[in-house]
């Protein structure tokens, strides 16, 4: 009798502890999400506010004290260069990703699968290149950009951004390539392909998940770069989103707050969405690149 009571009491205690741990987890998760997303939620509310509502310090800033208006979001698309910024960013992003893959994929293959004696040190060398920051190079690079005649052009960014994306993408791709069994190439070569053919037709398709992850990662890096874009490109029509929005939606002392916040949310949400889709692959890629088998 007492034994049974003891057991049931312990079972209840376990259940209670389990429930409180679950509640704690949910509270922590919701709190973390709220803190991280707070500025964006605030942006979202702001974007649809009327001026008379927004610029009244007595109003509750979290509510619509006057009916919401889409005017400022419309203004963003009709009266500013926001569309141009987005097109520029997409153009730079796509081209940089293509250049990155064209250079990084063969390099990663050479370093991870061709078994040269120097491949270890070389891989670390490429990894270390990623450490050289834009803030150390932007002055010299801005003179070089002038020298090749690309100043004030979006193309200067296409030229320079791969210096950021090639090292890190090579590193990530090495991680993915290491997981593909060596027999694959040998089999392909027995089947009549050269080494290059085996690489293109057997290895690259198998590395596809890694390539997709690298594409998203390189694009995100490119879209958020700030220093080079600020230093190289001054004309409005050539700017990407990351410098266009903060510099062109502010005229002197006048901030177009609602349009600015709308722009932020419009850029933030799609990138975060795509990134989340591929997050597990990044996590896998980071680990495979860093840990030797």
């Amino acid at each position: 009798m007492t034994g049974v009571e003891e057991v049931s009491r312990q079972r209840r205690r376990y259940a209670r502890r389990h429930v409180s741990a679950r509640i704690g987890l949910y509270v922590a998760a919701i709190l973390a999400a709220l803190i991280c997303a707070a500025p964006f939620l605030w942006s979202l509310i702001t974007a649809f506010k009327q001026n008379r509502d927004l610029y009244n310090p007595v109003n509750n800033p979290f509510l619509f004290n006057r009916p919401p208006t889409p005017d400022h979001v419309t203004y963003l698309f009709t009266d500013t260069a926001f569309g141009t910024f987005v097109v520029n960013t997409l153009l730079v992003g796509v081209l940089v990703v293509l250049i990155t893959l064209a250079f990084g994929l063969p390099a990663a293959y050479a370093l991870s699968r061709l078994d040269r004696p120097w491949s270890g040190p070389m891989a670390i060398g490429i990894f270390l290149v990623y450490l050289v920051p834009p803030s150390l190079l932007f002055l010299a690079l801005s003179r070089m950009v002038v020298a090749v005649g690309l100043q004030d052009s979006t193309w200067s960014l296409v030229l320079v951004y791969p210096t950021i994306t090639i090292p890190v993408s090579t590193w990530l791709l090495m991680g993915f390539l290491k997981t593909i069994p060596k027999d694959i190439e040998e089999q392909a070569m027995v089947d009549g392909y050269s080494r290059v053919g085996a690489f293109l037709r057997a290895v690259v398709p198998l590395a596809f998940p890694g390539i997709v992850a690298v594409v998203v990662f390189a694009f995100t890096l490119t879209a958020s770069e700030f220093i080079y874009a600020l230093a190289f490109v001054a004309p409005t029509g050539q700017m990407p989103v990351s410098t266009g929005v903060p510099t062109q939606l502010i005229r002197g002392d006048v901030f177009f707050w609602q349009s600015l916040q709308a722009a932020t949310v419009l850029v933030a949400v799609p990138i975060a969405f795509v990134f989340n889709w591929f997050l597990d692959r990044f996590v896998a890629g980071f680990t495979m690149g860093a840990v030797k088998e």
Binding site: A28, A29, A33, C36, A37, P39, F40, W42, S43, L54, A107, Y109, A110, L111, L114, R116, G120, M122, L128, L131, V132, P133, S135, L136, L137, F138, L139, A140, S142, M144, L159, V160, T163, I166, T170, M189, G192, Y193, S194, R195, V196, S224, F226, I227, V241, V245, P246, Q261, T264, A268, A272, F275, N276, V283, A284, F286, T287, A290, V291, K292
Partner: protein, 312 residues
């Protein structure tokens, strides 16, 4: 190699080209050289140029190169704003790195757990990191506005501020620095959490389970398995974060432009201000060059960490 079989089955390709494509040594170089050239041309050359500029009189108006020796260094070292930037850079880096590592660990623990609605939480949590920094800083600029900040409004509701009072988050030197650090931490904690998740997931499950069967408790497993196994990867990640923070200027540039009165100026923003806004390329180069010693130290530390991983 299967060269003969190749030419037999695919006669369209000449034998010479086949052999070239089959020699691993040649191929390795052919695959690697384009990347190396790109990196040398657009990182190596500007790096050397940056050092050369520091000893020159190059400016935006007069791009011709004349050697002036240490004059720029003297000018920069005599400038009190430079010393303030240097001090701010260290303060900014150390304080934000401590916070990022601690909060990143907490966030990683939340994100590895299983719960309903995880996708939405993960999406919201990663927003600060995936959004271009200039845009998220714009959100914060509005959130910390001197008159319309909703934080001030809440404080006013609780009576912590008088009816028409404001905090001026970005207008007072100490508060401005605190605000910048808060924004930077907010932005990088998700990245730290993702890297820590990667580290946690790389631990083979059986080691943890074996220890659990042997009766090791949570903290014991944490300090005798998790921490030692994750440490090398975590060390590399932390060094990257530190370098990134040390050399970053985006948050400073958008939120305060180094103000009020250069109270929040960091080395990178000060170099940008002198070199691009002010047009004094040479002095800007000198300021940026002060980032280099730390970079070198970090590179050495990372090499050591990598070697430890390889030994294991």
């Amino acid at each position: 190699m299967a060269t003969t079989a190749d030419t037999a089955t695919r006669p369209g390709v000449t034998t010479g080209r086949r052999r070239m494509a089959d020699r691993d040594g040649v191929l390795a170089w052919a695959f690697l050289v384009p990347s190396i050239l790109y990196i040398v041309a657009l990182i190596g050359v500007p790096f050397v140029l940056a050092i050369a500029f520091a000893f020159s009189d190059v400016s935006a108006g007069d791009p011709s190169f004349d050697w002036v020796g240490l004059r720029n260094f003297e000018a920069v070292l005599d400038d009190p704003v430079f010393w303030r930037s240097l001090r701010n850079t260290f303060l900014f880096t150390v304080v934000s790195m401590v916070l990022i590592v601690l909060l990143g660990k907490v966030l990683a623990n939340i994100l590895v757990a299983d719960f309903r609605g995880k996708w939405v939480v993960r999406f919201l949590v990663l927003l600060p990191w995936t959004t271009p920094v200039a845009l998220s800083s714009i959100s914060w600029l509005w959130l910390l506005d001197s008159i319309y900040s909703p934080i001030d409004w809440v404080l006013r509701q609780f009576g912590a501020l008088g009816p028409a009072e404001n905090v001026y988050w970005l207008g007072r030197p100490d508060l401005a620095m605190g605000s910048l650090i808060a924004v930077h931490v907010w932005r990088l904690v998700p990245l730290a959490a993702v890297i820590m998740m990667a580290g946690l997931m790389s631990i083979p499950k059986d080691i943890d389970e074996a220890a659990r069967v042997d009766g090791a408790g949570y903290w014991r497993r944490m300090f005798e398995i998790t921490v030692p196994l994750v440490l090398p990867v975590a060390a590399i990640a932390a060094l990257f974060g530190a370098i990134f923070t040390f050399t970053d200027m985006a948050v400073v540039r958008v939120l305060t432009r180094g103000g009020p009165n250069d109270a929040t100026q960091v080395l990178a923003s000060w170099a940008f201000y002198r070199g691009i806004d002010g047009g004094d390329v040479a002095q800007g180069a000198v300021i940026a060059l002060f980032l280099f010693p730390l970079l070198l130290a970090a590179a050495v530390l990372i090499l050591r960490a990598v070697r430890r991983i390889e030994v294991r």
